[in-house]
Symmetry: C2
Subunit: 348 residues, 2 copies
């Protein structure tokens, strides 16, 4: 594909227009065709890659605002392509970890071809006997978030009760399956009958409910957890967190993975029931996956055999074509996706 002197190719890109407040819209992004010389700049230790799959993740909403948080990812740059996790094929490598033809997952651009300038943060894909798109999900950042969030932040014990919100989503479906395999009692909430059916019938949750059809979330949780909740894996925030706070058991743990219900609000909601953290001696802890990548080999070791034996399943919502990526990303915030939202850029 890359010629010696650098073939110039068309490069479709998803450009971030400007910082967003409130609910993001497709028009906050622009799909635009540019060109790219398919050659690594002289002396570069980067990678020239062809993007195959892109990952749509809720945390990307935070990057649509102007951020200045040390240790966190940067905001998107107005006028430049969106960046995020993806799976790509190396066309040319200036880095000893990678060679032409390798597959990798890591931070790349929302475009057909990218120049990756931080290849040391990318992971070489060694196992290709599973769907490649899984490296945007259970075998990538998302899997690490579920693994670290559940096993490291929640400090689970066998037999404990676990509640997961946005439970059919990219992370939630994994946390639920990890918790079940570990020996916990697992309940999830989701926003449609279809998703609740997935939780109960495909992912093996003990119970599940559609939060949109529950007039009283506190009552729904008391029905599912008459003895209370040991572990809450938080993906949504707002009213659900408040209801959970009323139902935590003594010395319970809450892992804050995301607060998707709050990202588009000008003024976030509550939580109002924080006093329960004291009364029940609860630990609530925010975490970022970046801190846990040293455990990635452990995730693979655990999950790869489970995938092959059918003990862990993974549901993806696949969108074809970079031109449909903005709609796929925006869809996350209305829960349009069923399972992990992936964009296919190229089937090679």
């Amino acid at each position: 594909m890359a010629s010696e002197d650098g073939e110039v190719v068309k490069n479709m890109q998803v450009i971030f227009r400007d910082y967003v407040s409130g609910f993001p819209k497709e028009t906050d992004m622009e799909v635009r065709e540019s060109t790219m010389k398919l050659r690594l700049p002289a002396g570069s230790n980067g990678l020239l890659v062809k993007n195959l799959f892109l990952s749509c993740d809720p945390y990307m909403r935070t990057r649509m605002a102007k951020l200045d948080i040390p240790g966190y990812v940067d905001s998107f740059k107005p006028g430049s392509a969106i960046t995020g996790y993806g799976v790509a094929r190396v066309l040319e490598s200036g880095h000893p970890n990678f060679k032409k033809g390798d597959l990798l997952w890591g931070f790349t651009g929302w475009e057909e071809y990218s120049l990756i300038t931080a290849p040391e943060a990318c992971f070489k894909i060694e196992h290709t006997d599973v769907p490649l798109s899984y490296y945007t999900g259970l075998l990538g950042m998302v899997g690490m978030a579920a693994y670290a969030g559940f096993f490291k932040v929640c400090s689970p014990k066998k037999g404990e009760t676990v509640f997961i919100s946005a439970a059919s989503g990219a992370v939630g479906q994994l946390v639920g399956q990890f918790a079940k395999l570990f020996g916990c009692y697992v309940v999830g909430s989701a926003g449609s009958k279809e998703k609740v059916d997935l939780l109960k019938n495909k992912f093996g949750f003990n119970d599940a409910f559609n939060y949109k059809e529950e007039p009283d979330l506190d009552a729904a949780l008391k029905r599912c957890f008459p003895e209370g909740i040991d572990i809450y894996f938080e993906n949504v925030g707002g009213k659900m967190l408040d209801a959970v706070l009323l139902n935590m058991k003594i010395r319970g743990r809450i892992a804050l993975c995301g607060l998707i219900s709050q990202y588009n609000l000008e003024q976030p909601e509550g939580p109002y029931n924080l006093m329960n953290l004291i009364l029940k001696q609860v630990r609530m802890e925010g975490f970022l996956v970046f801190d846990y990548y040293h455990l990635y080999p452990k995730l693979l070791e655990m999950v790869l055999p489970q995938i092959k034996e059918g003990k862990i399943v993974y549901v993806e919502d696949t969108t074809e074509g970079l031109e449909n990526a903005p709609a796929a990303l925006i869809g996350l915030f209305s829960g349009r996706n069923v399972g992990k939202q992936v964009v296919v850029v190229s089937h090679e």
Copy 2:
């Protein structure tokens, strides 16, 4: 004092009238004279005590509401005397841990004489070369809350930055001094110039501010902590917590000891900036002192020499007479007290 056949004495009591919503008033309690036979019931393994000092503590507000929280203390019982921590002299003992004449601290009644039915939860006072009232404060439950909250929940490291709200209060003044002696940089907030002066000049805080005179709490914290806060010892909640959330450092810790600004609100405030727990990977943990009493010998071992060497000081706000106890308790919620609020029931 106790005669063989049980002298009947007058027993002034502070009676809890009924469950409270909103701001508590003195008239939610009634000071009433009853009588008591000064003899332990036959076969009792309890203690008959004369109360000397009573402790006014913010957590008592939660007990004015109807509670049903396993592992937490009970609500006050309408029509019965208020209960709480105090220092008392044993008049008669049915328990092998105590004998007549012993001094103890623990759960007792807001009255002149009490029958303690759970003596195993009381601590015998062995060291009387310090003010006895200190056993309602730095040598009692309050000292344990400061000790456990700071050293166990906050996991401090030398050189870290520590912020304490309600910093001149019973717990706050101790946490600040513990943190200073441990080698941290310590800033406190309080609600008057007098209290701020205490923080800076008596307790040796590095800096302090009057939150009532700060139009922008976020700006006040940024002024005091240009690099951010590693540890927040939370006594107040509400707007202060929200401002702190904006200023936490990566992997910071928040120990939730109390939320006094919220106790009298029908609908608690926020916090609205919870997302910062994720972005900065912050742990926020509620704790109750009851879990840490096994560490009480360690507290004494640390604090008794420090008191004698003048390395730790303790400011008390002393109210004379049981009849003034309701006003003393209510005063906590408007910050009328300066330092630990104690009620003297008897000088013996």
